[in-house]
Symmetry: C2
DNA sequence: GTAACTGCAAAATATTTGCATCCTT
DNA sequence: AAGGATGCAAATATTTTGCAGTTAC
């Protein structure tokens, strides 16, 4: 189990209070977070601009990856393996539970390859599955 | 080839100037559009609020569907088959060309089914593939 | 004629930026 | 000590809403 400080150091990022707090939230919650949900989870006051900048930094260092959504809210989740800005290992399935509105990474399930038409070259893929999760099932 | 007016009538929507103009843009451009790109394609002045409301209406009537993105911009594209708000037939692949920044629907390629862990129930899926398109290939 | 739709204006929300100060290395 | 990060404030951008006037059916 890597601590926030260790992860930051591994990425050659300076270890600051806001970065540790935000990273610890990601470590604690095993689900995808939006800017807003992070802001809400923080009891301390971290400036909104700092949160934006921190998420951007984490993204560029490959600490987190983005998950596409359809509601103008970008979600972020911890990367499991080593990622970098140009090569994210985020080609696992993301599951969105429409009941509890939670998005989780299904690290174990990789995105199946599909055959593209001639001339198209794939760089990466994201598969978002919506439905109900194992807790909300009914 | 369906005209904008016919599509609107089929969905029991009243045929208004803004709706026709916006729908015609979708018909003409065979790619996914954002609110902003629609606003830019319009020479006539259609109020921004009207565009938002029209897209919402089209979405609810199943005329267009949303495509998830990671940049806080929701994309919309024409539905090919009959859709409704609760059952969209949008389970085809969406291809994002990172060179020309264009998103297109690959109607022919359906999203492969994946096996979910016990307790998870899938309702629908979206597969977004990023790469270079057949025009931008190099 | 009536219900629905549009345009306008304002409000609410979300994101970005400049800059002075503070913190990490 | 120096460079980078933060916090604050302001600027920008985006989206929503209320309402009066207009349009489609």
């Amino acid at each position: 189990m890597m601590t926030a400080a260790v992860i930051l150091k591994n990425k050659s990022l300076s270890v600051t209070i806001p970065r540790k707090i935000i990273l610890e939230i990601f470590i604690k919650e095993s689900r995808a977070l939006s800017h807003a949900s992070i802001e809400n989870s923080i009891s301390t006051i971290i400036d909104r601009a700092t949160i934006y900048r921190t998420l951007q930094t984490f993204l560029e260092s490959g600490i987190i990856h983005q998950i596409p959504t359809t509601n103008n809210v970008v979600l972020y989740a911890l990367c499991q393996e080593e990622c970098s800005i140009d090569h994210h290992h985020d080609e696992h399935v993301h599951f969105v539970c429409t009941a509890c509105d939670t998005t989780i990474c299904m690290e174990k399930i990789i995105v199946p390859k599909v055959k593209l038409p001639r001339g198209f070259k794939m760089k990466n893929a994201a598969l978002i599955i919506k439905g109900t999760c194992d807790i909300c099932k009914n």
